[in-house]
Symmetry: C2
Subunit: 120 residues, 2 copies
DNA sequence: AAAATACGTAACCGTTTAGTTACATGTTAC
DNA sequence: GTAACATGTAACTAAACGGTTACGTATTTT
């Protein structure tokens, strides 16, 4: 089971496009070393390492020292757990409540965007 | 389709336990007004409103003015879209690559936690 | 019309985030 | 053993986050 704090870490880690891209790259190239990964981004290697630290905190990455290099591996477990919670918790809602959303969308149009303008 | 910026907003919005709880409450009590929601939290109403703004930015909430009150509604669409992307993008990986994760976990234990200690 | 209610805006504050540069450490290659 | 290489640490900065209090505005209620 995933605690609040862990979910915070996972969602926050995923809440950044660079980090999501890092995950994608590591997922595609398991065992890639830090420098090689960093070279794919236009920020400094240090910035990349900080992102990697965030991803490791969230347990989305695992790393392994290999000589002077450090190899990176993707870990899907936290995403799996969140996925499980989401599907159990939201699937029923998705099936049942979409009508309401539609209703709201229609209402917004009827009201001449009065609510829509408040968003963003 | 969900752009990087939108995904950032959704994940960041979900990366906070209070905001997730707000979503749960609004999902369970569609049309709840801001004040009633705020009374369920021990931070100020202003703080709650800021959280609501974040959730609306991410399109996870929709609101509707009703007299002097504002009614809140949950919107599952962004979560649905992320869910779809996740399942298509990660489901294959989950099936195939868990052996590697297991391997890494075992390696860590064999190496007497040498890598494990680096995490956290 | 005045008071109470519900929400919104402004200004401020401490902490975290995301980045930088400079330097240090450990490992491989020559 | 020195040089080159790959990673790590420290110190700093600007902006964003998450919170506060004080005040303003719009809508009911009495």
């Amino acid at each position: 089971m995933l605690h609040d704090h862990d979910m915070d870490a996972v969602f926050q880690a995923l809440g950044n496009a660079s980090r999501r891209r890092m995950l994608d790259i590591v997922k595609q190239q398991p065992g890639i070393v830090v420098g090689a990964l960093a070279s794919e981004f236009d920020v400094s290697r240090i910035a990349v390492m900080k992102h990697l630290a965030v991803l490791e905190e969230a347990n989305l990455l695992v790393s392994e020292k290999d000589g002077r290099a450090r190899r990176l591996y993707f870990n899907a477990v936290p995403i799996q757990m969140i996925h499980e919670r989401w599907t159990t918790e939201y699937s029923a809602y998705w099936a049942g409540q979409l009508t309401r959303i539609k209703y709201i969308a229609e209402t917004r149009h009827r009201d001449n965007e009065s609510v829509g303008k408040q968003r963003k």
